[in-house]
C-alpha cells in the first residue's frame, strides 16, 4: 500500500467560511501526524475522510475508496472524535460493546473485544462505571478503545491527547505505537508538535485549510525550538507546582492566570514532557488537565507561511 489516505485539491466551504482550501497531501503507512493550530482544518479533513462531510471540490480517498456514505469501508476504520461526549448513561464496557455489535460481532465476541480494548488503554478498573463519571483523560482512553476494539486497518484520531492528564497521555501514546507496530495505520491530529514527535517522524502541516509542508519532522524542529512552547496545567495547587517546575533550566516563564491554572513556557518541550510525570509523582500534586495553547505553534506557522 503506497498511501493510506490521499487528498487532491480538496476544498470544503461552510457557507462563506472556507474549511479546506485546495488541500493536497498523501498520508503514508504507519503513523502520520496532522499538525496545525486550532481552526486550521484538521477536523474538517478528518470528517471528510470518515465520510461525515462531502468535499465541495477535489478528490479524497481513504484505503483507496471514496469515503462518502461508504458503509463497507467502516469495517476497516476506527475513529476517535475530538469532542468528549459519549453515551454517558452507559458504562465504558457497555459503550464499547454496543459499538462492537454494530460491526456484526455476536454478544460474547463483542464483550471480549470491548474488555480487551479497555484493558489495552488501561481502563479495566473503570470499565463498569458510567462514562459520565469519567475524567477527560479516561474519556480519551474510552474513545480510543471504541476506535480500536474491532481491530481496524486504519485509526483516525482527532486530538486524542487533548486535555488528558500525563498518565493518560503515556497510555494513549503507547497504545497508538503498539497498534502501528502490529501493522495498523494511524492518522492523528494535534496542535502540539512535540506530542506527535514521540511516536512518528511523518507529519503533514496544515494551516488555513492548506497543506503547507509534509515529510520528516526534524526538518522543522529547529524552527520550532526558536519559539518557546506554552503548556497550560490545570491543578488545584498552581503555586506549589510552579515552585517545583522553576528548577527546570529550560523553563522560560511561569504564570498563574487563574486559581487552578499554571501557564508554563519552555524552550525544551521534549525535556519538559519527559520530566513532568516524575515531578508529578515526587510532589504528589494533582494534575487534572494538560493542554498546549496554540500561540507557540501559531508563531511557527506564521513564520513558515511567511
Amino acid at each position: 500500500m503506497s498511501a493510506v489516505a490521499e487528498a487532491a485539491g480538496v476544498s470544503k466551504w461552510y457557507g462563506e467560511v472556507l474549511g479546506l482550501n485546495a488541500f493536497t497531501a498523501s498520508f503514508g503507512t504507519g503513523i502520520t501526524g496532522l499538525v496545525g493550530p486550532n481552526g486550521a482544518g484538521k477536523s474538517t479533513l478528518f470528517k471528510l475522510l470518515i465520510g461525515q462531510l462531502h468535499a465541495d471540490q477535489g478528490t479524497l480517498r481513504l484505503l483507496g475508496e471514496n469515503p462518502w456514505n461508504n458503509v463497507p469501508m467502516m469495517q476497516r476504520l476506527g475513529y476517535c472524535p475530538e469532542h468528549n461526549q459519549m453515551y454517558g448513561w452507559l458504562s465504558g464496557q457497555q459503550f464499547v460493546e454496543a459499538l462492537m455489535r454494530l460491526h456484526g460481532m455476536p454478544s460474547e465476541k463483542a464483550s471480549k473485544a470491548a474488555s480487551a480494548a479497555l484493558k489495552v488503554v488501561g481502563l479495566s478498573g473503570a470499565a463498569h462505571r458510567p462514562t459520565r463519571t469519567y475524567s477527560r483523560g479516561m474519556r480519551q482512553r474510552a474513545k480510543l478503545a471504541q476506535a480500536l476494539a474491532h481491530d481496524p486497518d486504519v485509526l483516525i484520531l482527532d486530538e486524542p491527547l487533548s486535555g488528558a492528564d500525563p498518565m493518560a497521555r503515556v497510555q494513549i501514546l503507547r497504545t497508538i505505537s503498539d497498534f502501528a507496530k502490529d501493522g495498523g495505520h494511524v492518522l492523528m491530529s494535534t496542535h502540539v508538535l512535540y506530542e506527535i514527535e514521540r511516536i512518528t517522524n511523518n507529519i503533514v502541516l496544515i494551516h488555513n485549510g492548506k497543506a503547507i509542508a509534509s515529510g520528516d519532522i526534524h526538518a522543522i524542529r529547529a524552527l520550532i525550538d526558536e519559539h518557546p512552547h506554552a503548556v497550560r496545567i490545570e491543578t488545584s495547587h498552581p503555586r506549589q507546582f510552579a515552585q517545583a517546575l522553576a528548577r527546570m533550566e529550560h523553563v522560560v516563564s511561569l504564570e498563574v492566570p487563574a486559581e487552578d491554572t499554571l501557564l508554563i513556557r519552555t524552550r525544551k518541550p521534549d525535556a519538559f514532557y519527559k520530566e513532568l510525570p516524575g515531578i508529578v509523582a515526587d510532589t504528589k500534586l494533582d494534575v487534572r488537565g494538560l493542554e498546549s495553547p496554540d500561540d507557540s505553534l501559531e508563531a511557527v506557522f506564521r513564520y513558515l507561511v511567511g
Partner: protein
C-alpha cells in the same frame, strides 16, 4: 452484510434508543405526563363525581389525551432521536460503523415507537379499568372504547413520530416547529369545516374513534371514512414521512458542534 448481522445492528440501535428514552432521567417528566389519563380517572373516582362514566371518560380524553398528551410525548421523544445525537456529537459513534444511514433512522424510529407505547398504553388501560370499576360495570362492557383509544394511540404514535422525526432532520430547533404543527396546525386545521381537516393527523384519529366506538361524542363527528381506511391512510403517511427522513438524512453532513 448477513441477515444475522443486520438483526444484531437492529437490536443494538433499537435497544440504545429504548435505554435512552426510558432509562434516563428525562423519562420522569414523560411518565408523569403519560400517566395523566390514569391520574384523571383516579381523581374523578376519588372525588366521587356522579357523572363519571365511560361517556365522560371519552369527553375528557379526546381533547386532553389525543390533542395534548399524545402530541407532546411523541414530539419530545421523536425530535430527540437524531437531532440530539447531532447536537451532542455522539452520531459519529454510530455512523463510523458498517451500518447505513437509512438503517440508523429506521431502527431508531422502531425504538421510539416501542418506548412511547410503553409510556402511553398502560395509563389508558388503567384509566379505563378505574372508570369501569367506578361505574360498576364489567371490564369487558365497553371494550370498543378501550379498543378505539388503543388503536388511536398506536397509530397516532406512529404518525406523529414520523412527522416529528422528519422535522428533526430538517431544522435545528425541531421542538419549536413541532409545537407549532402539533398544537397550532392540528387544532386549527382539525376544527375548520369542510375537507380542510383531512390535512391533519387528528382528523384520522377521530375517524378511528368514530368508526370503532358505538356510543360516545365521536359518533356525530363528520368523517366519511371507516376506521380501517383512517388507519391505512395514517400508516401510508407515516411511511412517506420516514422515506423522506431517510432521503434527507442520507445526504446530511455532520459538522462537529463546538
Amino acid at each position: 452484510m448477513g441477515f444475522t448481522e443486520s438483526v444484531r445492528r437492529l437490536w443494538v440501535v433499537t435497544s440504545l434508543t429504548l435505554r435512552y428514552l426510558l432509562g434516563t432521567r428525562r423519562v420522569i417528566a414523560m411518565l408523569l405526563l403519560s400517566a395523566f389519563p390514569f391520574i384523571l380517572a383516579l381523581s374523578l373516582a376519588a372525588a366521587r363525581v356522579a357523572a363519571f362514566n365511560i361517556l365522560l371518560f371519552q369527553v375528557l380524553l379526546i381533547p386532553l389525551f389525543l390533542q395534548v398528551v399524545l402530541i407532546f410525548v411523541t414530539l419530545v421523544n421523536a425530535t430527540t432521536l437524531i437531532r440530539e445525537e447531532i447536537e451532542d456529537n455522539t452520531l459519529p459513534y454510530l455512523l463510523t460503523r458498517p451500518i447505513s444511514k437509512p438503517a440508523v433512522v429506521i431502527y431508531k424510529y422502531l425504538g421510539y415507537v416501542v418506548a412511547v407505547l410503553v409510556l402511553l398504553v398502560p395509563p389508558i388501560v388503567l384509566a379505563y379499568g378505574v372508570t369501569q370499576a367506578y361505574q360498576g360495570t364489567g371490564l369487558t362492557t365497553d371494550l370498543d372504547v378501550l379498543g378505539g383509544f388503543l388503536v388511536a394511540t398506536v397509530v397516532g404514535t406512529v404518525a406523529y413520530g414520523a412527522v416529528f422525526l422528519f422535522i428533526s432532520v430538517l431544522v435545528r430547533k425541531p421542538l419549536a416547529v413541532g409545537l407549532l404543527i402539533g398544537f397550532v396546525w392540528e387544532s386549527i386545521v382539525g376544527s375548520i369545516p369542510g375537507d380542510v381537516p383531512k390535512l391533519s393527523v387528528i382528523h384520522y384519529l377521530r375517524s378511528v374513534l368514530k368508526g370503532m366506538i358505538a356510543v360516545g361524542p365521536m359518533t356525530t363527528y363528520r368523517s366519511d371514512i371507516s376506521a380501517g381506511i383512517a388507519v391505512l391512510i395514517l400508516v401510508g403517511f407515516s411511511v412517506a414521512m420516514i422515506v423522506l427522513t431517510v432521503m434527507v438524512f442520507q445526504q446530511m453532513e455532520f459538522r462537529q458542534k463546538a
